[in-house]
């Protein structure tokens, strides 16, 4: 019988031995060396029965199939658009996956998406060389109108979204902003300038405290306080 050397939800550094024995199975962020299961990243240990997983605490975005990301058009090629997706690798959006409209041969592609446009798109394929293909066909996938774009650490995105989107809905309800969060850590916001600021501050707070327990309650209180001070501010003006 193997034995665990660290507790669940403990922070480990690369090279740290998590468990000994063949009955533990290393998954994401860990590897096996003979009898030992070892961390290969800085992260939180997640033990699920015999499976050992690492939840990364930092790191740049690595494209993954099925992720919905926000990208910016940086180039237009013969058969589509090249997008910067806040990663070491840029992504391709080909004509076929971009729109259901008919695009004539030799048409001016900037009429659809031009340089600097921000798009919400889903990754349909990632090759071994990290060539990334995107699609715009799907619910919620669109060209983003004017608003504010911020970037956060991609490892914090799950906490910003929350369980079934609970965290981001909370911010939306409290500030009245429209928010879209990309898995690559790019976030688009649109709303009243003042509430946009509140939303950005809240997101920054989540980013800083993502690994500390009781996050939802803290953020709820924070938003309530912000709302109160805003109302008081309005009264003073009146």
């Amino acid at each position: 019988m193997g034995k665990l050397l660290v507790n669940d939800k403990q922070v480990v550094v690369p090279g740290e031995i998590i468990a000994e024995g063949m009955d533990f199975i290393p998954t994401a962020g860990t590897y096996r060396d003979k009898e030992q299961v070892i961390a290969s990243k800085l992260g939180l240990v997640n033990i699920d029965g015999r499976l050992i997983k690492l939840i990364p605490l930092t790191g740049k975005y690595m494209p993954k199939k099925g992720d919905t990301v926000i990208g910016k058009v940086i180039d237009i090629t013969l058969n589509g658009w090249r997008l910067d997706i806040n990663s070491a690798y840029s992504a391709m959006l080909i004509l076929k996956d971009a729109t259901s409209q008919f695009i004539a041969r030799g048409a001016d592609l900037t009429r659809y998406f031009s340089f600097g446009d921000c798009l919400v798109a889903t990754i349909i394929n990632v090759t071994s060389q990290n060539l990334v293909d995107l699609t715009m066909k799907g619910p919620g996938l669109r060209k983003l109108p004017e608003g504010r774009i911020i970037t956060v650490s991609p490892s914090k995105v799950p906490r910003i979204i929350g369980k079934q989107g609970s965290m981001v809905s909370m911010i939306k309800d409290a500030t009245g902003c429209r928010i879209t969060v990309g898995q690559n850590g790019v976030i688009w916001l649109q709303g009243e300038p003042r509430s946009e600021m509140v939303a950005v501050e809240t997101i920054r707070k989540i980013e800083a405290e993502a690994h500390i327990q009781g996050l939802t309650e803290r953020i709820q209180k924070y938003l309530e306080k912000k709302k109160e001070s805003k109302e008081n501010g309005l009264q003073e003006k009146a």
Binding site: V11, V13, P14, G15, E16, I17, G29, Y31, D33, I38, S40, K41, L42, P56, L57, T58, G59, K60, M62, A88, Y89, S90, S128, Q129, N130, S155, H211, I212
Partner: protein, 233 residues
């Protein structure tokens, strides 16, 4: 004359006081500070990011680029000429090779991870301090790694084998050997081994044993420093 007592009163197997911290450079993807005695190293890691010029890209695996630099005011008062020198270029290269076995390059083909090491204050053991800081910064950047890399200099002054020499000890008028060692502590795999001066085979083995012990302690300091950033406040 025989070297009986160390100039700063340390034991022969005792390193100088070590201090370490990560996240010291907020705009970098990962960063770390490592201080051993009067030697202070800062490392900043950027990437994985796109590699330009394009001909440097490797489709099979990623590239690790290191830059070691001593600041002009960092020495004992003699101004270090700024910019790349033969020495800094060599140390950049050995630092890169010391870190390479720990980094999983296959994870980011065609891309690059840049490591910048700056030394605002130096008193020997700079490449070792730089490697320690760089390894911590790589972990802080979330790079996939097999293990951390710890480094320390061991050596011989007269007939005494000792660890972590200061500049004054290195300039001792007599038989001196200076041996920087870097190691991945879990597997005890050595990733850097250089020497200045001369030493017998037995002396070298003794020195390496001493290095191993010191490196385990340095590893603990590095590990705790990386974790500290995520501790409850």
């Amino acid at each position: 004359m025989v070297y009986k007592k160390r100039l700063d009163g340390r034991k022969f197997d005792e390193t100088r006081k070590i201090e370490a911290k990560t996240g010291v450079i907020p705009r970098a993807d990962g960063s770390a500070m490592f201080r051993i005695g009067q030697t202070l190293a800062y490392a900043a890691v950027y990437g994985p990011r796109e590699l330009h010029p394009k001909f440097l890209q490797d489709p099979a695996k990623g590239v690790l680029r290191c830059k070691y630099n001593m600041m002009p005011f960092s020495g004992a008062g003699d101004r270090v000429r700024p910019g790349t020198s033969r020495r800094s270029k060599e140390i950049s290269m050995v630092t890169e090779k010391a870190l390479l076995p720990s980094v999983e390059l296959e994870d980011f083909p065609n891309a690059v991870v840049d490591v910048f090491i700056e030394l605002p204050q130096t008193d020997s053991g700079t490449r070792c301090a730089g490697i320690c800081a760089a390894s911590m910064a790589l972990a802080d950047a979330g790079i996939v790694m097999k293990d951390l890399v710890s480094a320390v200099a061991v050596g011989k002054v007269d007939d005494k084998v000792l660890v972590d020499m200061t500049y004054d000890e290195e300039s001792y008028d007599g038989e001196v050997a200076d041996i920087p060692v870097a190691m991945m502590p879990r597997t005890e795999q050595i990733t850097l081994l250089q020497m200045d001066g001369e030493i017998t085979k037995e002396g070298l083995m003794e020195a390496l044993e001493l290095a191993k012990k010191a490196l385990k302690k340095i590893y603990e300091v590095q590990k705790n420093a990386i974790k500290q950033k995520y501790e409850l406040k």
